[in-house]
């Protein structure tokens, strides 16, 4: 690791160095995870447990004429069968869910189809039985009659006037308003615009215009979706599941099942990856309904991998047209983008997020970005790490690279000339706080990788090239609650509510320990559920270390306030006059440590517990600059990643290993998206590669070591300077690799994935 510390947050730490923050401590949940003892959603076992399975549509687009479940119901061992009729339609209203929003009418239809199926794999019925195998046998006994309809499988086709219509009641929201009553597949057209585009292009010495196509990709978490539900005889519903947002789930279940929030408890189990895809409910409402219908027995469900690929996630395929102009001195004079993102079966692609990402790193006076959210017969698109960002940056950063090339400028220098800084306004409106974009450009420019000669090609038909690209992600703050019990032995039991996907129990406990001046090991963190700790927004939007970290800090401050009261009782002095330095509380020549004071809790007022609930503000976006060396096999079209370096402004790295891990993981997913991953549909809309053999995610053999360069430009709004880390690393890789391929072989890649087929096509060889 390389750390580039740009500023120190001395003011925030009274000039002291951190004791805990910045250390590479062992995560508290680690031993359970390396010994196989950790309880993930699919590991739940309960008395009288039944097993549930889902019957899915074999068609991409069809009307359901009839469903006959009678034979399935008669199979011995089957305890309940449900179809769309068992689900009261959801209300046509929208709520925020994780990083995106959710319409309950659509969410309900996605969970279990009503009159139409809209994608291959759309659930049409579900069964609970005494064994998973009996449940599978029962599925085969359900008879569904379909009227097959023509599917529409990409955004451009779906936007045509004569396209098959998925949702008969859908009308385009044109810049926020419905202006036509014509049925359509275009859910919305949004626009960001500023300045005078025509004048900007007139001023340009060079203009580049290109169209990009990216394919559908999946989050690819290794743990399939699962959910276990008990709908008890008293009406209380308990759900054990793998979720990024227990409170989001509780709200979604309440809306879908038409049951008050107070009757639902969501217990988040350990989660095997999410990347945005584990916000939505899929199986949980079905498990709950099956539990109700089977006489209040708990029902466990989990997906097979083909179900995960066919019916969860994915993120949008897209068509993006970019036009940018720049002057000879390197100043970008105008930038325009037209972006159509596939929403899948229901509105809700991340196109607006992509619109904000595409030109975000640059200060632009004349800009216009148009975005279209388009429904097609594919699974409903869900958030995937920096949703919509990778496709957007692939387009934007490729054009930036081409402008730099046409102007004969170094790609980093060209970006520096145009780089956004604190105080600059983005195309989507907000004004930047203290971002560290230029610092990441500097870090890469100075890095040995950028200054090393290109590796020698390994064969005459191999070509090597180096590419650079940048990325932006908004970062989220959001709501966090936490509570703590101070124990007589000097430890603090710390209950937080953020699902821990990548080591946040450690980073949050570190911030609480730092605040209290105690050892990390003396904080005992635990993730609560919707009934044991206050409301928390989900683990997404790169918010946990920021927002829940702020809650940890304020929780620590509350504990200190209480501890001062206890010392005041002990010494019979005013609490306000007690000084606190690290873990030492003092008054005049009286001194007592946190631990010693804990031993005196009983005699100074009894047990101590505190809690906080915050609506945090002040997140600052993350920016990153990546450089990659690739080797292109000009005979087969295969691209190998030789070396990869990613510099990112993280604000403050609380646990550097897990910060590096986020960067590594985001880069690896970005490489997969860039080179291999795609949904392959036949012309009837059947997903043809619904396995992890054919949906080809990177293996250990496909990747080199990835160097993470941590740049620290502290966020002044956070007690420890934190900025979100998790998402931005997936934004630049596709563009960086495309730019490297160009430097290697002289062709601009405008299609993802850049797999052998598409590279050979671009080379004119097939």
């Amino acid at each position: 690791m390389t750390t580039v510390e740009v500023e120190k947050t001395e003011a925030r730490t009274n000039g002291k160095h951190f004791k805990v923050i910045g250390q590479r401590v062992i995560r508290p949940d680690g031993v359970d995870k390396v010994t196989g003892r950790a309880q993930y959603g699919a590991d739940v076992m309960l008395q009288g447990l039944l097993y549930g399975k889902v019957l899915r549509s074999p068609h991409a687009h069809a009307r359901i004429l009839s469903i006959d479940t009678s034979a399935a119901e008669k199979l011995p061992g089957v305890k309940a069968v449900i179809t769309g009729k068992d689900l009261k339609p959801g209300e046509d209203k929208v709520a925020k869910s994780g990083e995106s929003s959710v319409n309950y009418s659509y969410l309900s239809q996605n969970v279990l189809a009503q009159d139409k199926v809209l994608y291959h794999g759309h659930p049409v019925a579900a069964v609970a039985a005494t064994s998973i195998h009996i449940a599978e046998e029962a599925l085969a006994l359900i008879k569904v009659e379909y009227e097959v309809l023509p599917p529409v499988l990409n955004a451009l086709d779906a936007m045509k006037d004569d396209a098959p219509i998925l949702l008969p009641n859908l009308r385009t929201r044109e810049l926020g308003e419905v202006v036509s009553d014509k049925p359509t597949n275009v859910a919305s057209h949004e626009q960001y615009a500023r300045g005078d585009l025509a004048a900007g292009f007139a001023e340009a010495d060079v203009i580049v215009e290109r169209e990009f196509h990216t394919n559908t990709v999946h989050q690819g978490y290794i743990e399939p979706q699962n959910g276990t539900a008990l709908w008890n005889a008293d009406g209380q519903i308990t759900v054990w599941t793998s979720t990024q947002g227990a409170w989001d789930q509780r709200r979604d279940l309440s809306e879908i099942l038409h049951v008050p929030l107070s009757q639902i408890r969501v217990i988040p189990m350990e989660i095997g990856g999410g990347f945005g895809g584990k916000f939505p409910v899929y199986l949980e409402p079905l498990a709950a309904l099956l539990s109700l219908k089977s006489g209040h027995r708990p029902v466990k469900m989990w997906m097979q991998r083909d179900e995960v690929l066919k019916a969860t996630g994915p993120t949008s395929a897209s068509v993006i047209r970019v036009k940018m102009g720049a002057r000879k001195d390197g100043k970008i004079t105008a930038a325009q983008a037209w972006m159509a993102y596939e929403a899948g079966a229901f509105p809700g692609s991340p196109v607006s997020a992509g619109m904000g990402v595409i030109f975000a790193p640059y200060k632009l006076d004349n800009v216009q970005i148009d975005g279209y959210d388009v429904v097609v017969n594919k699974p409903a698109a869900k958030a995937y790490r920096a949703p919509g960002g990778t496709n957007a940056a692939f387009a934007g950063e490729t054009v930036i690279d081409e402008l730099a090339e046409k102007l004969g400028m170094d790609p980093i220098e060209f970006r520096r000339i145009n780089a956004a800084k604190e105080g600059d306004r983005r195309a989507d409106g907000p004004v930047y706080g203290r971002i560290g974009f230029i610092e990441t450009l500097d870090a890469i420019e100075k890095h040995p990788h950028y200054n090393a000669p290109l590796p020698e090609p390994s064969a005459p038909y191999m070509k090597v090239g180096r590419g650079v690209a940048c990325g932006f992600w908004y970062n989220w703050d959001g709501k966090s609650s936490a509570s703590a019990v101070v124990n007589p032995d000097g430890t603090v039991s710390y209950l937080e509510g953020s699902t821990d996907i990548g080591g946040t129990r450690a980073s949050l406990a570190m911030m609480l320990a730092e605040t209290l001046g105690i050892h990390y090991e003396d904080v005992k963190p635990m993730v609560g559920d919707t009934q044991t700790v206050g409301y928390n927004d989900g683990t997404g939007g790169s918010r946990t270390t920021y927002g829940s970290g702020m809650a940890a800090y304020h929780l620590g401050k509350e504990i200190i306030k209480e501890m001062k009261q206890r010392a005041a009782v002990l010494w019979e002095v005013p609490a306000d006059d007690i000084d606190v330095e690290g873990d030492v509380y003092s008054y005049g020549d009286k001194r007592i440590t946190f631990k010693e004071l804990c031993a005196k809790l009983d005699e100074t007022g009894g047990p101590m517990s505190v809690s906080v609930s915050l609506d945090t503000k002040g997140a600052i976006p993350a920016l990153a600059t990546h450089v990659v060396d690739v080797e292109v096999d000009t005979e087969t079209g295969k691209v190998n990643i030789l070396r990869y370096t990613a510099a990112q402004d993280v604000g403050r790295a609380i646990h550097p290993s897990y910060v590096e891990g986020q960067i590594h993981g985001g880069v690896a997913q970005g490489i997969g998206w860039a080179l291999n991953e795609e949904y392959y549909y036949d012309e009837d809309g059947h997903l043809m590669n619904a396995s992890l053999l054919d949906y080809r995610m990177p293996t250990a053999l496909d990747l080199p070591m990835i160097e993470a360069v941590i740049v620290e430009v502290p966020n002044p709004n956070h007690p420890f300077g934190v900025k979100g880390v998790g998402e931005v690393p997936i934004v630049p890789p596709a563009a960086a690799i495309a730019n490297a391929i160009y430097r290697a072989v002289g062709v601009r890649m405008t299609v993802l994935p850049m797999n052998p087929r598409n590279v050979l096509k671009a080379l004119g060889k097939i």
């Binding site: 590479r24 062992i26 995560r27 949940d29 680690g30 031993v31 995870k33 390396v34 010994t35 196989g36 003892r37 950790a38 309880q39 993930y40 699919a42 590991d43 076992m45 011995p76 998973i132 195998h133 989050q219 690819g220 978490y221 290794i222 743990e223 399939p224 350990e270 989660i271 095997g272 990856g273 999410g274 990347f275 097979q304 991998r305 996907i501 990548g502 080591g503 646990h655 290993s657 897990y658 590096e660 891990g661 590594h664 993981g665 985001g666 880069v667 690896a668 997913q669 396995s691 992890l692 053999l693 995610m697 990177p698 293996t699 250990a700 053999l701 496909d702 990747l703 070591m705 990835i706």
Partner: protein, 163 residues
């Protein structure tokens, strides 16, 4: 109805007898019959390696083995790799090197890495990557996993020398 078959196998140094249906995979038996849930189901068709176990000295995906095939076999799962005291060097290094994020693939990686180090105590980075290519991780980009395996190998070699 079910025609269960009696099976006896040595699992993690203990003799286990159980009944299983011929259609149940070893993974299902481990998880649902024997409550050894350390082996994880990620794909159920041999592509992700999350269910890896060592069977008669060979690394296998337990989702591709039938429970009845385990009769007479010697099987080591992640639960059996954990020593009586402390942790196996692989487990220790995965923790110290932060080689896990969500942790769902971790048991499979540790089992697979153990099978590698049993055969080859001094693997190169490439050999580690090649061997572990049957295990998918979506969180880490493999960087810290590969380092952890190389670090654990070094510790195990040193331990062997002093032993």
């Amino acid at each position: 109805m079910s025609n269960k078959v009696p099976v006896t196998a040595t699992i993690n140094d203990e003799e286990k007898s159980f009944l299983c249906e011929p259609r149940q995979s070893l993974l299902e038996v481990l998880r649902d019959v024997l409550n050894l849930t350390g082996a994880k189901e990620g794909c159920n068709n041999g592509n992700c390696g999350a269910c890896a176990v060592i069977m008669n000295g060979v690394l296998v995906n337990s989702c591709l083995v039938l429970g009845v095939e385990a009769n007479g076999a010697t099987i080591t799962t992640i639960e059996g790799i954990t020593p009586k005291e402390g942790l196996h060097p692989l487990q220790q290094k995965f923790l110290e090197d932060a080689a896990l994020q969500c942790g769902i693939c971790t048991p499979g990686f540790i089992v697979a890495a153990k099978a590698l180090l049993d055969k080859n105590p001094s693997p190169t980075e490439h050999e580690v990557r090649y061997w572990l290519a049957g295990n998918l991780c979506r969180c880490t980009g493999y960087d810290k996993i590969v380092r952890a395996v190389l670090d654990a190998a070094a510790i195990m070699r040193a331990e062997k020398q002093t032993a």
